[in-house]
């Protein structure tokens, strides 16, 4: 008996560990191919020049960036945008989060949900409405005219040459939910007894906020702010739509799509990457250092103060103002979709309303296939994300693998890598693999972006949004006592059964919310779609919207109709995710 047990030793010793080492190796391989390889290709060009020109290691391109006033200006502008957006987001979110935390009033649940909607309606679609509203003969001008502020047929240049202001405002109005979610989660974690203790010792409201509340919610604030900083620093769509060309992401995009191959944009990407990585690391360090709020558990029930109807309405006001401002561009899209061609001009509302664009969209050979494609790609990438997210989260939270810190960082890295960079990396890899696999037809077709970009798009979508699913699942696991799983194993359940019957049901809310967000973001992913999907029959909805938007005549209206459908769908996803997770949503949007 003893002997048999001894003999079984090597195999039986750590069946779990062997499995998890295999999974670890697989994960590392996946990250190496889908994440590191494209980055390395870009780094190589940035430091060694274009392939074929191999001039050896050089920092010349980086010198070139910092010497060139145009590129330097771009970096400066992008930094300015990132910092301003983050500050503006903080100024919008913190007071709202405090209001929602402290007071109970009619309609709070509704505005709390609606407040998140702008997050998944990216400026890319909103830009259609934004042009309509801010145009020289747009809605604002018409409204100003109706109010007698300007004469008839008098255009007003709302942002003029200060387009950077427009970019900051529009980005802030779409990214503030990230900070709002994080701060709300942090506030919910603060034991009310701590503030009560301070009040009991005689501290005034302001002192309590400054000395107790603010320091305790700081980790949440930092976590959200890091994401917003990186996001706005690398955002391509908004400055592009506002014709702000002197911003680093736009300069990268323009120079990458120009004919003459130059290593400069790659070097520029490397600069972006390094800057993002630094922001990311700083954010993580700041988070790691002061994680006090997460440790404390509320010992007393937080009791929101119930407001009277009058005061309740007053508390509601700032929420409504922010929501209306943030959704204004999207309202513009909705109106565009029902406006007669060319009829919304020099007027507050379109002069002719029609449902025609929707029926056109339904039969349009560009519109419907793109809807089908997007649903397909987004669903597939979501499935991939759930699988990988669960595995990675389990490794990070539950396993004792030595490399789990590395896995964690790798899974979060896509947050710091601009989508544009990955998309170009994938295109290059696709070409490379076709050469390698030229004798294996089906393998070649699988990785051929020209023939069928589905696989690459799904990988790109999945990778870009993996961090949210990982964070969501990690939060779920961290909130679930490990004893619940150990109890199942201890009573005889296999690892797989434990996962299926205990772990997954317990973190289902987190998984569903993470999956919904991954799905929503994949549906509206811009950079990968624009670059990877070239064959018309595989265009996702974003590419179709972009193409239609550029089409003369009724293109923009059909694009708007598509945009409206996507907006309704995505609004429902974020509202559902919010309903599933509530305050815990904050855990998803952090580094």
């Amino acid at each position: 008996m003893d002997g048999a047990a001894q003999m079984l030793d090597p195999a039986k010793r750590r069946p779990l560990a062997i499995g998890s080492y295999i999974a670890l190796a697989a994960l590392l391989a996946i990250f190496a191919v889908t994440l590191l390889w494209p980055i390395v290709r870009i780094l190589r060009v940035g430091f060694f020049g274009m392939p074929g020109e191999h001039s050896g290691f050089t920092l010349a391109y980086f010198r070139a960036i910092f010497v060139d006033p145009v590129l330097r200006g771009g970096l400066l502008n992008s930094t300015l945008i990132a910092v301003s957006v983050t500050l503006l987001c903080t100024m919008i979110s913190v007071p709202l989060a405090l209001l929602a935390q402290r007071y109970q009033f009619r309609g709070k649940a509704v505005v709390n949900g609606l407040l998140l909607v702008p997050l998944i309606l990216p400026p890319f679609v909103g830009a259609i409405g934004m042009r309509q509203i801010l145009g020289r003969f747009g809605v604002l001008t018409a409204a100003a005219h109706d109010l007698g502020l300007v004469g008839a047929n008098t255009p007003v240049d709302w942002f003029g040459s200060a387009r950077i202001v427009a970019v900051v405002v529009v980005e802030a109005l779409s990214l503030y939910p990230i900070i709002f979610l994080n701060v709300s989660a942090a506030l919910a974690n603060i034991d009310p007894a701590m503030e009560q203790a301070a009040a009991n010792l005689g501290a005034s409201g302001w002192t309590i906020f400054r000395r107790i509340t603010l320091p305790l919610m700081r980790p949440g604030l930092f976590a959200g702010a890091t994401i917003v900083l990186i996001w706005s620093f690398t955002e391509l769509g908004t400055p592009l739509m506002f014709d702000l060309y002197q911003a680093t992401p736009v300069q990268v995009f323009e120079r990458l799509t120009q004919v003459s191959g130059s290593p400069l944009p790659y070097a520029l990407v490397v600069v972006m990457l390094i800057a993002s990585a630094i922001l990311y690391i700083v954010g993580k360090l700041a988070l790691g250092r002061g994680n006090d709020a997460a440790i404390t558990k509320a010992s007393t029930q937080s009791s929101a103060i119930k407001l009277s109807t009058g005061k309740g309405l007053l508390a509601l006001l700032p929420f409504v103002v922010v929501i209306v401002l943030a959704l204004l561009p999207h309202v513009g899209v909705i109106l565009t979709s029902v406006s007669g061609v060319g009829s919304w001009y020099q007027s507050v509302l379109p002069r002719v309303f029609t449902a025609h664009h929707y029926t056109t969209a339904l039969t349009h050979e560009l519109a419907m296939p793109s809807v089908r494609n997007s649903v397909l790609f987004a669903s597939a990438s979501t499935v991939v994300d759930i699988g990988l997210g669960l595995l990675i989260a389990w490794m990070i939270v539950r396993s004792k693998l030595p490399a789990k810190g590395l896995i964690d960082s790798l899974a979060m890295l896509p947050l710091a890598v601009p989508g544009l960079v990955l998309a170009f990396g994938y295109l290059a890899i696709s070409l490379q693999m076709q050469v390698w696999f030229k004798d294996f037809r089906w393998l070649r077709n699988l990785v051929d972006a020209q023939e069928n970009p589905a696989v690459l798009l799904i990988i790109a979508y999945a990778l870009r949004r993996l961090p949210y699913v990982v964070r969501s699942a990690v939060a779920g696991l961290e909130q679930t006592p490990v004893d619940l799983e150990l109890a199942a194993k201890n009573i005889g359940a296999s690892n797989w059964l434990t996962l299926r019957r205990i772990t997954i049901p317990l973190i289902a809310a987190n998984l569903i919310a993470g999956a919904l967000l991954a799905f929503a973001f994949a549906m509206l992913e811009v950079s990968d779609s624009l670059i990877l999907a070239q064959k018309q029959s595989y265009w996702p909805i974003t590419k179709a919207i972009y193409e239609l938007f550029q089409r003369l005549g009724d293109g923009v209206y059909i694009a708007s109709a598509l945009g409206v459908w996507a907006m309704v769908l995505l609004t429902l996803t974020i509202l559902s995710a919010n309903a599933f997770l509530g305050k815990r949503m904050g855990a998803i949007f952090r580094v």
Binding site: G52, F137, P155, Q258, V259, Q434, Q550, L552, L569
Partner: protein, 476 residues
């Protein structure tokens, strides 16, 4: 259970379009299993792609009894197509002997003749009857309509010209007359009201800039003055127009859209873009004009790509495009007999015979009779290759400085003299050609060298603008 209600709603919205589509009974077929497939790399807008695909499928089915699948590849404009081919050359093409593209279509004759012909196009011999019908004359105003070789490598599929799109409401507000010539756009009252396309990204923007300069040189030639100096004045005019620019867009097709919205007063556009948008928003608001004698008519080609996997079918497509049936699609009003189904394309056919019946035409302009354009000459286009870079270093990168400089000049007592200085490039064509050759010679040098060179040139312009501003303020 609010969350489940939301989840159900989510699913309902998700499937709604598919159900509605089925209810309408017009399910669009996904690219289904036709044996024949044609892959076209294309720079046109979606309307052209769709109308030609529909018509060709019908034509092919009628003539050959087979259905065809058309697979358009869209990478953006002409330069993006070139970029794709360039990047595939050393990888895909080297490995497999094909670009997996059958046809390349659209983007202007310069792209085909100068950039694609050598490495990427396949010589094709069409049926002589087709050739004779399509091209009774080999050129129009000195511009070849197809590749002049025994086996041509490209064929003009339509004619294009360039003109000015303008918004009449904005002009009324600015108190400006409708523009008639390129020079009108340099009027300082247009300040911040002009839209231009970035010549580094839009081949057609490059062409229209070249036309403006070329016309100046031709004028000098006619007057017997120095063409090299005229080149500098042409570039200077572009500089003055650029000083009025509110922005440089990245695609020439957005120029008419921005004009139509009233965000700018005028811009330069390809004829059919301008006409199509004026059509959409109404002639009362928007106009399109071609500066008389100052534009060119050039062919927009189609060509078979080297290593095409479906060569036979590709040739049939070209034959269809050059047939009367195909040609009439360009200009017959949508919905009328022989015309497109949905979208009027408003382009000029290249086959002269088609103009015999213009009854259903959207634009009754016959370029073979009217003398819209002037004869181009390769000798005056030597700087075409470097036009994008020249505009970038002098105008786009320094747009703010340029604007401030012109404002300062116009406010100064020496306005006329200084504006004339701004209206003349600091160097002439010979110098530009020298610099262009310098750039070309650096093509294989480390890119750093090129950048250093360009940066140095930008600094020259920056200094020039500083000096002009100083002079305007009475310090120079």
């Amino acid at each position: 259970m609010r969350r489940f209600v939301l989840l159900i709603l989510f699913v309902v919205v998700l499937v709604a379009p598919f159900i509605l589509q089925a209810a309408m009974g017009k399910r669009t077929k996904a690219a289904a299993g036709s044996e024949l497939k044609l892959v076209i790399l294309n720079a046109h807008h979606e309307g052209i792609r769709r109308e030609f695909a529909v018509a060709f499928k019908a034509w092919h089915l009628a003539k050959y009894g087979q259905s065809v699948d058309i697979d358009y590849r869209s990478y953006g404009g002409g330069s993006d197509m070139l970029r794709y081919l360039e990047s595939s050359k050393d990888t895909l093409f080297k490995a497999t002997g094909t670009f997996k593209i059958d046809l390349v279509w659209g983007g202007g004759d310069y792209l085909f003749d100068r950039q694609l012909k050598k490495d990427y196009l396949e010589p094709v011999t069409l049926d002589p009857a087709v050739m004779h019908h399509a091209y009774p004359r080999p050129n129009l105003a000195g511009v070849p309509l197809y590749d002049q070789a025994a086996s041509p490598k490209w064929f003009g599929a339509a004619l294009s010209s360039f003109g000015i799109v303008y918004n009449k409401d904005v002009l009324r507000y600015l108190g400006l007359a409708e523009p008639k010539s390129w020079g009108d756009l340099a009027d300082p009252r247009y300040r911040n009201w002009i839209v231009l396309a970035d010549p580094m990204r839009s081949a057609s923007a490059k062409q229209v800039f070249m036309i403006i300069v070329e016309r100046m040189m031709l004028d000098a030639h006619d007057a017997g003055t120095d063409e090299n100096q005229a080149w500098a004045r042409g570039m200077g005019l572009l500089r003055q127009i650029a000083a009025n620019a509110r922005l440089f867009t990245d695609s020439s097709s957005s120029v008419p859209i921005v004009v139509g919205n009233g965000d700018v007063a005028a811009g330069m556009a390809i004829d059919f873009y301008g006409r199509a948008q004026a059509d959409a928003v109404g002639d009362a608001r928007m106009g399109y004009v071609e500066p008389v004698g100052a534009t060119i008519i050039n062919p927009d080609p189609i060509a078979v790509v080297r290593g095409a996997e479906h060569r036979e079918l590709a040739i049939r497509f070209i034959e269809f495009v050059l047939s009367d049936e195909g040609q009439r699609l360009w200009n017959v009003r949508a919905g009328t007999a022989g015309g497109p189904v949905q979208t009027s394309l408003r382009r000029l056919p290249i086959v002269p015979a088609v103009y015999d019946d213009m009854s259903n035409f959207t634009d009754r302009v016959n370029p073979f009779v009217m003398n819209i354009g002037f004869a181009k000459s390769g000798a005056r286009e030597k700087t075409f290759g470097v036009m994008g870079e020249l505009m970038q270093i002098s105008c786009i990168d320094l747009l703010d400085e340029l604007r401030r400089t012109r404002t300062a000049i116009l406010a100064s007592p020496r306005a006329a003299e200084l504006d004339a200085r701004l209206g003349t490039f600091p160097f002439d064509q010979n110098e530009a050609i020298r610099r262009s050759e310098l750039l070309i010679s650096l093509k294989n040098a480390p890119a750093e060298e090129r950048l250093k060179l360009l940066r140095g040139w930008t600094e020259e312009f920056r200094k020039e603008y500083e000096e002009l501003r100083a002079a305007a303020k009475g310090r120079g």
